[in-house]
């Protein structure tokens, strides 16, 4: 099943008006059983952040430090149960300007929600933050990039290609916690994820990257399918290949393709490897691949057993 964004909520405990040292974040609207919720909570002080007492939240990372921009933050996840409460409370003994939110996704593996070890960086004295690269293991993983700024910003601009779903200021708008996401169709390295947010002055932001693992079958793949021309010559180093994959092996039974692409390539031996994250075929089952090379005026069909 493909991962999909469900909804998000944010909250702030404003010292000037609330100062309760408790951050109550509503469960996002529409969350159902087996959705996975990510909570991102931060404060402008050291001493750490306490976890909700009314739910089994798992900590992905937590840290606090004194000096420069005093900060405590925590990032956690929880698999939604059959009956979620209306909200959860985070807090701290010496909390100042608590802020954050919950972002929910459907279609995440509820046994192992994290595809790969998450990565976080505490960036010192920077105006141009990057979330670190991670290498996903599963096609269709949901990349969740997180940023906490420690300078005043009107809003956070998400990384290119990412959709921002959370942008939570603290009470005096001197800080923000932001979350953006995209689906990574193929397994592999994300590369560093740049937040095009030029901070007004040197700051100590936190930037992190989480990969959520899709539930159920992790799709299918074809590895090293050799392409040859009419003279049986291997078609090495082709690029810009267009393709469509069908889970049916007989055209008379075709429905819409489960996966398609526009930029595949063959390697130096003329082999092509493709991941089909939405395919429901299992190892050895046969589907149908249609491939077109616009540059060389080639089109072909293949009945192929998936890996």
């Amino acid at each position: 099943m493909a991962i999909a964004y469900r909804n998000a909520t944010t909250a702030v405990d404003d010292d000037a008006t609330l100062n309760s040292k408790t951050l109550t974040i509503n469960v996002p609207s529409g969350v159902v059983e087996d959705d996975v919720m990510l909570a991102f909570v931060a404060s402008e002080t050291t001493g750490g952040i306490t976890m909700p007492e009314n739910g089994s939240w798992t900590t992905i990372t937590a840290d606090s430090w004194l000096g420069g921009d005093d900060t405590s933050y925590v990032i956690q996840y929880k698999v939604a149960g059959p009956s979620e409460p209306a909200s959860y409370d985070w807090g701290a003994v010496t909390a100042t300007e608590l802020h954050g939110g919950i972002v929910a996704f459907s279609g995440v593996d509820t046994t192992t929600p994290l595809d790969q070890t998450s990565a976080f960086s505490k960036l010192l004295n920077t105006t141009d933050p990057d979330s670190p690269t991670i290498t996903t293991q599963t096609a269709g993983a949901e990349i969740v990039a997180l940023l906490m700024t420690t300078r005043t910003l009107a809003s956070v601009t998400p990384p290119t290609g990412y959709t921002k779903v959370m942008d939570a200021p603290n009470g005096n708008t001197s800080r923000r916690t932001a979350v953006a996401h995209l689906v990574k169709a193929t397994a592999g390295a994300t590369g560093t994820i740049n937040w095009p947010t030029s901070l007004a002055s040197f700051a100590d932001p936190i930037a992190g990257t989480i990969a959520l693992k899709p539930s159920g079958a992790s799709g299918a793949s074809i590895t090293d399918l050799g392409l040859v021309n009419l003279s049986s010559t291997a078609q090495a180093s082709l690029s810009g290949l267009k393709w469509s994959w069908f889970d049916q092996s007989d055209p008379n039974n075709f429905t819409a393709p489960t996966d398609q692409g526009l930029v595949e390539s063959t390697d130096g031996s003329g082999n092509i490897s493709i991941s089909m994250p939405n395919s429901t075929l299992t190892t050895g089952q046969t589907g149908f691949l249609v491939l077109r090379d616009p540059a060389n005026n080639y089109i072909g069909g293949y009945r192929v057993a998936v890996d």
Binding site: Q260, F288, R292, I299, G300, G301
Partner: protein
């Protein structure tokens, strides 16, 4: 609206016309590879004539004369498959 393909000659990779094939399974798409929706038409009893020509009617196609779609063919008896970008009549 409908579209047709008339006397499209099919060749194998040795450039030999594929005459008198029967029971061909096929699917027609109004779009291009990489951006296909579900096929508009499909079937499994098509044949080529003695010259290797295939004629198809795609009753649900919305293409007009000269517009290009994608045809996928499969001959179960000979385990042959093919894909074609063709302009409709």
């Amino acid at each position: 609206m409908a579209a047709t393909l008339t006397e499209q000659r099919l060749f194998n990779k040795s450039n030999i016309a594929q005459a008198s094939l029967s029971g061909l399974s096929w699917a027609w798409f109004d779009g291009d590879v990489g951006a296909l929706s579900a096929p508009t038409d499909k079937g499994n009893i098509e044949s080529t004539d003695a010259s290797g020509d295939l004629t198809l009617s795609m009753a649900n196609s919305t293409l007009t004369t000269g517009q290009i779609g994608t045809l996928v063919l499969y001959d179960p008896t000979g385990s042959k498959v093919g894909a074609y970008r063709l302009a409709v009549d």
